[in-house]
């Protein structure tokens, strides 16, 4: 909201001592919680624009549309060329910019030749001076103004400082100048000097207002006027409204806007002649009842909309906007002025329903005063309509419905200290609260019973009053004396916290491990395009959809990590030619088929929420110049390395069933201790195309499922082998598509089942870096049948407590190979020992 410093000052008792700078004024306003978001100083450059008198007009010798005007600026008469059609007769007053004036926008007035005639200075229009919207003709000033008077002196409000305030929703009282002045006066130790709030004594207008919905309208003052002359407002009013960002319309509408800005109270003026039977009914709309607003919008009303109707139909959507039919335009002479209080929640509902956010609804939904300020607003409007529009008050009526109860709050001095950690002197408590129009009376020792004023609906509990005290006493006075926690931190072990800490450590560890693999962390949006998720197999009705997305592309919560990485990868490939190595730790969302079970205090709500699972994912893609740098194995190796950094040994096993988002022949499942914990492979070429990667660019992907992993692996020491290992080689001929892991698993299983002497040799990690079963060579070519390959394996044997003999190793090895090959051949008969 914009406020005028000049106006605020006029509503407070004069300041003693020096005038505050605008900066200090702004700081004081901000210190009250009415945050100054912008400051603009106006009008200092207009001191050389003065009131001047027209002394004569003659045609321009060389131009039809220009005239030569003799202007008396209080000191001398100057000849000025002017193109405006509305220059007044001799003796009329205009605004004259003297030579050397600099008008808003940096336009400097110099002596000029205009079509062969010398001209010194300029006769100005509102727009040229930045004090109004009118640029069609020059300003014609009242004829009794004194030539030579600087315009900023003649028209208060031209020279002013305008502050833009961010008013928080709890402070509807500060949505008008009176409210800001009232708060500030307490801060500055001045007093509020509110405008005269007394209403003219007029006959009661029986039947003028019927209140049929008293639960929705707490107070309604209707005042009738006759003899109004609708026209332009005086310059001071136009300037003030313009400075506050409002467009002057006509004197009647301007008065309602002016009062809105003064008291924060929205008013509405009806052209009473256009109201059927000249009266209004405050009632609920009929469902579907039509209404056309002031700005021409056709509304279809709902049964819970409150309307101000005449005898026949709605003339205003209460508290939101007036209707087109009864708006005050030129020619209106009889008026009905509405000053009312409408129930905030329903105004908000109506405004939202019809998509109308107006200055009026904004204030009503936050809660305007239904007490003294409401009446003050009515009084000011009445006075101004009489003085500015020549109207006569002819009658008035006030009806009342339900207003919110006014709370009585007990404020205890001890509570102030307990909440703030700072005592506030009793005298100060008294000064601040009474200054804020909070009535208080003693209630026992060091306590008061307080009744807040009706313009402060936000004050409902003791803490609210303490905030008022703190605002005015000053937050900078809070001392730096912390209360110590009653228990040393870290001594409490909450089971929930233990789990949260473990999760956080796991995420950190996985991320650090991925970084060590030279992957770069990205943050992708948690929502994405439904089309992106189609390949990932979660049915649409199990996805979590945003009801009101910004765009289709962000309308569904992701069910898989891959789209975000592909999107980022694709952006990178389009922008540069480097290798792309990205990773992310994030969540995926879905509605699980089976209902989830929860315990704890939040179980009931948790059961209503979708499932959120955590994933660590990565994506590799060679830059365009190094096409063959990566393979599916790169992804598998990274996954295994990451797991090893968590203390887990990964096994890469065939994916069953195959993931449709990965290349059917280049994918695998990642296991730890026989449990699936992730997947790796080449991104399906169709997906690469879908995400706009250039043809031929291959991407590789892996992800780990954090729910299946644990952090904080504590490694357990195993005694180092004291005796050397012995190895035996085995060459197997297997089909190319038979995974090597099938062979190694079969060998390991056979060994586990074989007969063993108590201290005899076992298959064990050898003295080389590989495992107990090493794959030495994967040979394809001459000597191996079509579609097959030769796998050369080396099996290491070792006994824990002694050297082994060749014979016993040979016996075990023979048995292991025989059993393993037999088992393998049961599935794949073409497997044989070479």
């Amino acid at each position: 909201m914009l406020i005028s410093r000049q106006w605020i000052e006029s509503l407070m008792s004069p300041a003693g001592g020096e005038t505050m700078s605008d900066e200090a004024f702004g700081d004081a306003v901000t210190s009250l919680g009415l945050e100054v978001e912008g400051v603009t100083r106006f009008g200092d450059d207009l001191r050389t624009v003065v009131v001047a008198e027209v002394r004569g007009i003659e045609p321009h010798p060389n131009a039809d549309k220009l005239r030569l005007v003799d202007v008396f600026d209080g000191e001398r008469t100057i000849k000025v060329v002017c193109g405006a059609p509305n220059v007044p007769e001799s003796g009329g007053k205009i605004a004259f910019a003297r030579l050397g004036s600099v008008l808003p926008g940096g336009f400097e007035i110099g002596a000029r030749e205009i079509r062969g005639v010398h001209s010194e200075g300029m006769i100005c229009a509102e727009e040229e001076l930045g004090i109004g919207p009118d640029g069609d003709g020059i300003m014609v000033l009242p004829s009794d103004w004194q030539p030579g008077t600087p315009l900023p002196e003649a028209v208060p409000g031209i020279a002013d400082t305008i502050f833009e305030l961010g008013i928080t929703p709890n402070r509807p009282d500060a949505l008008g100048h009176v409210g800001v002045a009232a708060d500030l006066a307490v801060k500055l130790g001045r007093s509020l000097q509110p405008p005269d709030a007394s209403l003219a004594d007029v006959p009661a207008a029986e039947g003028l207002v019927s209140l049929e919905a008293p639960q929705r309208c707490g107070r309604y003052i209707g005042r009738t006027f006759e003899g109004a002359q609708v026209g332009d407002s005086p310059l001071w009013m136009r300037v003030r409204l313009h400075r506050l960002g409002l467009r002057p319309i006509n004197n009647v509408v301007d008065v309602t806007n002016y009062v809105l800005m003064l008291w924060g109270q929205p008013l509405h003026a009806f052209d009473r002649a256009k109201l059927s039977e000249g009266r209004v009914v405050v009632r609920l709309a009929a469902d579907g009842e039509p209404m056309t607003t002031l700005d021409g919008a056709e509304l279809k009303l709902a049964a819970s909309d409150l309307v101000i109707a005449d005898a026949q139909r709605p003339q205003a959507l209460a508290g939101v906007m007036g209707g087109q039919d009864s708006g005050v335009e030129a020619g209106a002479t009889t008026l009905l002025l509405e000053t009312a209080w409408f129930e905030p929640g329903f105004v908000r509902a109506s405004a939202r329903r019809h998509g109308l956010n107006t200055d009026s609804s904004y204030r009503f939904e936050r809660g305007v005063d239904f007490g003294a300020r409401l009446q003050g607003a009515c009084a000011t409007a009445e006075q101004l309509l009489c003085t500015l529009a020549g109207a006569r008050v002819t009658g008035g009526v006030e009806v009342g419905g339900q207003v919110p109860p006014t709370p009585t709050i007990t404020l205890r001095e001890a509570r102030v200290l307990a909440l703030l950690g700072m005592a506030i002197p009793r005298a100060e408590i008294h000064r601040v609260l009474t200054g804020l129009e909070i009535s208080l009376e003693p209630a026992g020792e060091a306590a008061w019973r307080c009744i807040p004023p009706t313009h402060r609906p936000d004050l409902t509990c003791e803490e609210d009053l303490i905030e008022e005290l703190l605002r005015h006493y000053g937050l900078d006075r809070l001392p730096s004396t912390p209360s110590l926690p009653s228990e040393p931190p870290g001594m409490r072990v909450d089971p929930g916290q233990r789990a949260a800490d473990a999760t956080a450590r796991l995420e950190d560890a996985v991320l650090d491990a991925m970084r060590a693999e030279n992957l770069q962390e990205v943050l992708a949006f948690a929502f994405t395009d439904p089309a992106d998720l189609e390949p990932f197999g979660v049915p649409a009705d199990r996805t979590v959809k945003v009801t009101n997305p910004l765009r289709m592309q962000t309308s569904v919560m992701r069910t898989h990590m891959m789209p975000g990485l592909l999107r980022a990868g694709s952006v990178n490939v389009a922008r540069h030619a480097r290798a792309v190595r990205l990773c992310e730790v994030g969540r995926i969302y879905d509605w699980p088929e089976a209902s989830q079970t929860f315990d704890g205090a939040t179980a009931e709500v948790d059961a209503l929420l979708p499932r959120e699972r955590r994933r660590a994912a990565f994506f590799l893609c060679a830059g365009s110049r190094e096409a063959a740098a990566y393979s599916g194995s790169s992804a598998a190796t990274i996954a295994a390395s990451v797991l090893s950094r968590l203390g887990a040994r990964a096994a890469i096993r065939p994916a069953r069933p195959a993931a449709s988002w990965l290349h059917p022949g280049v994918q695998a499942r990642v296991e730890v201790d026989g449990v699936a914990v992730g997947e790796v492979g080449e991104v399906h070429p169709d997906l690469m195309a879908q995400f706009d990667f250039p043809e031929g660019v291959r991407g590789y992907y892996g992800e780990l499922w954090l729910e299946s992993l644990r952090a904080d692996h504590v490694a357990r020491h195993q005694a180092l082998p004291r005796f050397p290992s012995t190895s035996r080689d085995l060459s197997l001929e297997i089909p190319i598509r038979t995974p090597a892991s099938a062979v190694t698993d079969a060998l390991a299983r056979a060994e586990a089942k074989a007969e063993h002497a108590q201290d005899g040799p076992r298959l064990a990690q050898g003295d080389t870096a590989g495992g107990a079963i090493e794959i030495v060579e994967d040979y394809r070519g001459a000597g191996v049948p079509e579609g097959h390959r030769a796998l050369l394996l080396r099996l290491h044997y070792r006994a824990p407590g002694r050297s082994v003999t060749d014979d016993e190793v040979q016996a075990l090895h023979g048995a292991v190979v025989q059993a393993a090959v037999a088992a393998l051949c049961a599935d794949v008969p073409s497997i044989r020992v070479r």
Binding site: G421, L475, L478, P485, G496, L523, M557, R581
Partner: protein, 361 residues
């Protein structure tokens, strides 16, 4: 005169020695030298074989021959040894003569990196753990009960307009599910107060969502929020904690300022600013006015804070007359941008490797 057998053998010995010396001159690597050694003085070497003929000598000749044999063998061994050393020296010289241009080494390979927002989260988490706070998080999809209602933001109250909310359909597609993408980390406060008894000292950190998308607002961003609930917790305590936090985080003494403000879940409510830690300084350490962050105001706005509203405590079954609490919160993304001098918010989310690689440590 009868020629003695020993003369023949000795002659042969000398001949082998000469043959050896000639061959040795041709040798210039260790393998050839070894071959030579085998050829002459190995088990079946030509010199070694001559020793076998000693048996055919008259006993009186044996001694002289033996001496001659040993003399030759030693000489050969010495030559071999000398040659061996010479070869080693040459090899070493040759090895030291190598040159490799290390300035062409690949220093541009992609290096792993941690996102600046994550880095900032970790830093915050370290500092708050040190200050005695537990770090917690909660679900991203929340119920309005926790995201709004229990935080004293009733339905149809203008305070709900302070945050543009993404709503979420229910499992059957219903649009009145009362589910939202959490608009702040505050629901974690509620979850914590419902789940634990005071004393509570937590920070909640995580991803939040608001329906806003322009150069300075992302629909997804990150927040941190602190909560302390205990007996005798005061606003002075809050201010002091914030002071300690900024000091610990920026590792320098920075003032903290509170300004009154409104957040429905606190009363009294405030915004908090910190003394600008980014102002450039002159040689004497005095702050210069041309600071791009605080614009010379000396203060940087951080976030909101206040005493937990009694209605919020009550909504979590905590008696506001027995316990009091404070809370604060601010944006992590902006903090990350300030720390790393990142000028465009959009850079945080589009995943350009050239941006990411700037944060390798």
């Amino acid at each position: 005169m009868l020629r003695r057998v020993s003369d023949d053998v000795t002659e042969a010995l000398r001949a082998e020695q000469q043959r050896f010396e000639a061959a040795l001159a041709e040798v210039n690597d260790a393998d050839a030298l070894y071959e030579l050694q085998v050829q002459f003085i190995g088990k079946k070497g030509s010199v070694s074989k001559l020793r076998g003929r000693m048996g055919k000598l008259a006993p009186e000749e044996r001694k002289a021959f033996g001496m001659a044999f040993n003399e030759v063998k030693k000489a050969i061994e010495a030559s071999l040894e000398g040659k061996h050393r010479a070869i080693k020296t040459l090899q070493r010289e040759a090895d030291l003569g190598r040159f490799e241009d290390l300035t062409m080494a690949d220093t541009m390979s992609p290096v792993g990196s941690i996102h600046p927002v994550t880095r900032t989260r970790r830093q915050l988490s370290r500092v708050f753990r040190k200050l005695g706070f537990d770090v917690v998080d909660g679900p991203h999809v929340e119920h309005e009960l926790y995201n709004f209602d229990k935080l004293n933001i009733p339905a149809d109250h203008p305070a709900r307009d302070m945050q543009d909310t993404f709503f979420v359909n229910g499992p059957a597609g219903e649009t009145d599910s009362n589910l939202v993408l959490r608009t702040h980390t505050s629901p974690v406060q509620i979850r914590t107060m419902l789940g634990r008894k005071p004393p509570i000292r937590i920070v909640a950190m995580g991803t939040v969502f608001r329906k806003d998308d322009d150069p300075t607002h992302s629909p997804m961003f990150h927040q941190i929020e602190g909560l302390c609930v205990d007996e005798h917790v005061t606003m002075a305590d809050l201010k002091t904690t914030l002071y300690r936090f900024v000091g610990a985080f920026f590792e320098t003494d920075l003032k903290v300022r509170l300004r009154p403000s409104f957040f429905p879940f606190v009363e009294p409510g405030a915004e908090f600013d910190m003394e600008c830690p980014f102002c450039p300084k002159d040689d004497a350490g005095a702050k210069l006015p041309d600071c791009g962050v605080c614009k010379g105001s000396q203060w940087v706005e951080l976030g909101g804070a206040g005493m937990v509203h009694p209605k919020v405590l009550q909504a979590c079954d905590i008696d506001p007359q027995e316990h009091s609490g404070w809370a604060f919160g601010f944006g992590i993304d902006r903090m990350a941008m300030l720390l790393h001098e990142i000028t465009k918010l959009g850079l945080l989310f589009d995943g350009d490797a050239r941006f990411l690689e700037q944060f390798p440590c």
